[in-house]
């Protein structure tokens, strides 16, 4: 069903696109929460002379919470179908299904939301194929998904099934291979001396505002 929110979202190219396993789903951006987290574990390594702080890396994650709204029964079914697809996109992959010693491989999804979540290329479009989303979307593994219906708004019902008119999806995402723009002072001096282009190391690709 088309309503004003569809027109607005199309106009702003602001749909949330999620893709994996050759499928892409999209949601309108009724955003409740979006946060960017970076966590590192610092270990103090003591030598005779000094204590050196070391880390084995930085974990980069995103938390995205948004509402999914239906204006009629059919849209509610469509929304719940999308959630079912999302769950399957996030389900781990079973290596070698017939092998009893097979393990569960983390499933990775591509997610794109305007200039706020992207593969450091903050352009926007109104539709993505799975191939194009692989280029534009941010590659993440899913560590948690929550579905929560808005009970006060009630359910659509039909054919003996009920579907929430509005529900909230919360996604916990771990960024795979996050970009690192932190060049050491020595390397920067060397690159400048060599006349190398350092523009890829300047901030601005995360949200799309390049600094000089």
């Amino acid at each position: 069903m088309n309503d004003y929110s569809s027109d607005y979202t199309t106009d702003k190219k602001a749909k949330i696109f999620i893709g994996n396993k050759n499928k892409v789903i999209d949601f309108k951006p009724f955003i409740e929460n979006l946060s960017y987290e970076k966590k590192t574990k610092v270990i103090e390594f003591k030598t005779f002379f000094e204590a050196i702080a070391q880390t084995d890396g930085v974990n980069v994650s995103r938390k995205l919470t948004f509402k999914v709204v239906a204006s009629d029964y059919d849209e509610a079914i469509s929304n719940h179908k999308k959630f079912q697809k999302l769950l399957r996109m996030a389900m781990p992959l079973i290596d070698a299904p017939d092998d009893t010693s097979a393990t569960l491989k983390v499933s990775q999804i591509y997610i794109k939301f305007s200039n706020l979540i992207s593969n450091y290329k903050p352009s926007a479009a109104n539709s993505y194929s799975f191939d194009s989303l692989q280029k534009a979307g941010l590659l993440c593994s899913v560590s948690g998904i929550e579905y929560k219906p808005e009970l006060d708004l009630g359910f659509f019902d039909g054919n003996g099934l009920i579907f929430a008119k509005v529900f909230t999806i919360s996604l916990d995402l771990k960024v795979v291979a996050p970009e690192n723009k932190k060049l050491s002072r020595k390397a920067r001096a060397q690159a400048k001396a060599d006349g190398d282009d350092l523009s890829s190391f300047t901030p601005g690709s995360l949200f799309g505002f390049k600094t000089p």
Binding site: K21, Q84, R88, V106, S143, I145, E146, Y147, L161
Partner: protein, 248 residues
């Protein structure tokens, strides 16, 4: 046949006429008829106790939370992220109102029964068995095992077993809504309304849905709930869990 299986009072009893048990009418009440028409009762069945509890779905809270516990395997060819465990947690809150003193008495016993379901199983003169037992929980197409695709008339525990989500109860809390007051009957107080909250986790020991060897637990869960999905791109989108509609 036991008394409970003859008259599953903890499921069907309410202060309303029940066509299944015409000799048990004690008034009329619309919410029961409405719930029955829509098929939206919350059922929980304990196989060991051979008892099911059924409640009208005055839902105050509901969520499905899926967690993928990851671990990184260090490898010279590059670290590999693996899924160590999957947790599918359901949380539900329900109001359990009573329209009569009799209804309130049955509701109190329903709450007690749910509490007993959480206990360890004891044998006569034996130590309690620490094994946690599975439960079957069904609430229309909101809580089921992926097979509830149209309204199902639940009359026996077998139906709950057929369509219910196999799970373990984690937490149970029921609170007396004191503001609503009490029925007084034979020097006893019977709360008019309980608020109930339940946390439960989908069992990873689902019966193997596919032929082949014994697969580690998490795989069974994925396969059961996604109708064999999670294996390849082509098959990944099979299944009707969690809302009973085809994903394809």
């Amino acid at each position: 046949m036991s008394y409970k299986s003859k008259i599953p009072i903890l499921v069907n009893y309410q202060g309303a006429h029940d066509p299944n048990f015409p000799s048990f009418p004690l008034g009329t009440e619309y919410s029961h008829n409405y719930s029955d028409n829509k098929g939206v009762f919350f059922y929980i069945y304990d196989e060991s106790m051979e008892v099911a509890v059924g409640l009208k779905a005055f839902i105050t809270d509901f969520s499905i939370n899926t967690q993928f516990e990851q671990e990184t395997i260090k490898d010279p060819g590059g670290d590999v992220d693996k899924v160590k465990g999957i947790g599918i947690n359901y949380k539900i809150g329900l109001n359990v109102p009573a329209i009569s003193a009799n209804d309130a008495r049955v509701n109190a016993t329903r709450m007690e029964t749910l509490g007993i379901m959480l206990n360890k199983t004891v044998g006569l003169g034996e130590a309690a068995d620490p094994t946690v037992e599975i439960k079957y929980i069904l609430l229309s197409n909101l809580i089921h095992n992926g097979k509830y695709t149209k309204k199902i008339d639940v009359k026996t525990a077998g139906t709950i077993k057929k369509y219910g989500l196999i799970c373990y109860l984690n937490d149970l809390t029921y609170t007396v809504e004191t503001d609503m007051g009490f029925f007084e009957y034979k020097e006893k107080l019977w709360p008019k309304v309980f608020s109930l909250s339940l946390d439960f986790v989908a069992s990873q020991t689902y019966p193997q849905p596919m032929s082949g060897g014994i697969m580690p637990a998490a795989k069974n869960l994925i396969r059961s709930l996604t109708d064999g999905g999670g294996i390849s791109d082509k098959e990944a989108y099979k299944g009707k869990w969690p809302f009973g509609i085809s994903t394809l």
